[in-house]
């Protein structure tokens, strides 16, 4: 793990980051190179550490809600969902069914936007500029849709304890259906442009091998784990919200390499669209807030754990309440943290260019790792 600096050796020490474009944020990786091969890699974190967990101890439960949009800004709604889910479990507030459906629809849209951004940025890391523009064009439509109901484009703060802050409109529903139709037409285009491209395949195939055994040792989750042939998704394994009521599959690939992780995410987009369509069809009428939510949420003493599947993996919140208006302890278990911790092991002995490809395939969002 630690890189011992030995100046006698003919090794090259290279700092990748903290401003390297392929680290997507401020991550620094110290690389010890032997020629073009990586002997040792040590990620250095903390450049965007904001101590969200301490903030949770100083703010009331409702005041902490906006923080959730900022831990992982690319799938903010999953984080919203996890936090309100944890507090609801702790207090026993039950959101009405319509609110649960809206939560799932918006979260899945957010997952699509996250995957689309990842897709564009990943291909950009590998040197392909054009797909980035196409995927951002598609993503823009999701942002417009979500902006029309949540009021913000990126750092959403939409869910409330016992429901959502605003009901969705008919325009949103027709807009979402139209968008799904559009994305369905565009996915084959992405396939021709990128997935079948020889250069792309050569850059990602058999690169960054994560064996199922190593994945378990490091606690890797999400598409990175499903690319290693393990069918684990919190939405299926530990169903929450309305996921048991909709029919969807968990795409799994057993190549263990960057290509498998890429394919898993591309297939997941289709599944997200299926979930949204079914949820829109089944969307019940009714209120979007539970009737008796206290103005000041004051959970009883005790602890509780709640996990959701974000675009990057298993995100869990552990809340310990001491019976007051602020939490005694809030622990955020972020998927990117565990997913990145395996990087040192899987990049050992690979080429420097493959490290870029491996890192991109893990879909890192640094603010979520540093918290």
């Amino acid at each position: 793990m630690k890189i011992e600096r030995n100046l006698e050796e003919h090794s090259l020490y290279l700092n990748m980051g903290p401003q390297h474009p392929s680290t997507h944020g401020v991550l620094r990786v110290i690389l010890k190179l032997d020629g073009e091969y990586i002997e040792e890699a040590e990620p250095v974190l903390g450049y965007i550490h904001r101590m969200h967990e301490k903030m949770g101890e100083n703010r009331t439960y409702a005041q902490y809600l906006p923080n959730m949009g900022r831990v992982d800004y690319l799938s903010a709604l999953s984080y919203n969902q996890c936090y309100v889910g944890a507090v609801e479990r702790l207090t026993g507030i039950a959101p009405p069914p319509r609110a649960e459906y809206i939560r799932v629809i918006t979260t899945e849209l957010n997952r699509l936007s996250s995957h689309l951004l990842w897709f564009g940025a990943y291909v950009l890391d590998l040197g392909g500029f054009t797909p980035f523009l196409y995927s951002f064009d598609d993503r823009e439509h999701i942002l417009d849709l979500l902006e029309s109901i949540t009021g913000s484009r990126l750092t959403y703060c939409y869910f409330r304890f016992g429901g959502v802050s605003k009901d969705i409109t008919d325009d949103f529903i027709t807009g979402t259906r139209a968008f799904i139709k559009r994305l369905r037409m565009h996915l084959p285009m992405y396939e021709t442009l990128v997935t079948k491209n020889v250069i792309f395949i050569n850059r990602v195939k058999e690169v960054g091998i994560i064996t199922p055994e190593a994945a378990r040792r490091y606690g890797v989750t999400g598409p990175a784990l499903r690319g290693s042939g393990i069918k684990y998704d919190v939405r299926k394994n530990e169903p929450y919200s309305i996921y048991p009521e909709v029919d969807f599959d968990i795409p799994v690939q057993d190549g263990c390499d960057a290509l498998s992780r890429y394919i898993v995410r591309m297939l997941e987009m289709e599944q997200s669209m299926r979930i949204i369509e079914q949820a829109l069809d089944k969307l019940p009428e009714g209120p979007v807030m539970a009737p008796k939510v206290p103005k000041k949420v004051k959970p009883p003493k005790g602890d509780c754990y709640f996990a959701v599947e974000t675009a990057r993996g298993d995100f869990g919140i552990y809340i310990v309440s001491d019976g007051t208006e602020t939490a005694y302890r809030i622990k955020l278990r972020t998927p990117g943290f565990s997913n990145l911790s395996i990087f040192a092991e899987i990049s050992r002995g690979t080429l420097l260019q493959d490290a870029i490809s491996t890192m991109g395939s893990l879909d890192l969002v640094i603010p979520e790792i540093d918290r």
Binding site: M1, H49, G92, G219, K301, C304
Partner: protein, 181 residues
């Protein structure tokens, strides 16, 4: 199935320490309350049972800090929480990084935030905080730190609760569905 298998496996080593939890209310199935020295043997059992490590964290309490290990399984819904206690003035727990490689970073993070020393940890330097940080942000001020009884569910409720309370109280939404599955 998975739950009972896990329970038997843990029970064979920690017959007294294991406790079943009400999943619908707390989000985990089993709770193992250990001495600090035994966290490594729990990690070994969990590894053998095919669990992965969610996180390692702690809670600052008086007089003993609580170190928490969350385990989950990829094949079903079973979550296990391990708890160990270590004195607040000189917190020390053995490392499990030798068993779960991912624990390396989680323990470094916990060391940053709470100042807990993980014995035999391969590389215990600040991970998220600056290299020269001489403070532990999540250690509470003396006036604010609470005792274990202040954050635990009232015992009476728990005893009466497990079978009966589920009917009278509105079950939390997520939990109810979780149970069905």
């Amino acid at each position: 199935m998975l739950l009972s298998k896990t329970k038997t496996a843990i029970e064979s080593i920690f017959p007294l320490e294991i406790k079943e939890a009400d999943y619908a209310r707390v989000g985990y199935h089993l709770e193992v309350i250990l001495d600090a020295e035994k966290v490594v043997s729990l990690a070994k059992v969990m590894m053998a049972q095919g669990f992965y490590l969610e996180d390692v964290t702690a809670i600052d309490l008086n007089p003993d800090m609580e170190v928490i290990y969350h385990y989950a399984h990829t094949e079903g819904c079973c979550r296990v929480t391990g708890r160990a206690y270590t004195p607040r003035h000189a917190p020390e727990v053995p490392t499990i990084a030798g068993i779960y490689s991912g624990a390396n970073w989680h323990e470094r993070e916990t060391h940053d935030f709470f100042g807990i020393t993980f014995k035999d940890h391969p590389y215990l330097v600040p991970l998220l905080l600056p290299e020269d940080a001489d403070f532990h942000p999540l250690v509470k001020e003396d006036g604010k730190v609470k005792q274990l009884k202040d954050i635990k569910r009232a015992e009476v409720k728990e005893q009466a609760g497990a079978p009966a309370a589920g009917e009278g109280k509105p079950a939390p939404a997520g939990g109810e569905k979780g149970e069905k599955a």
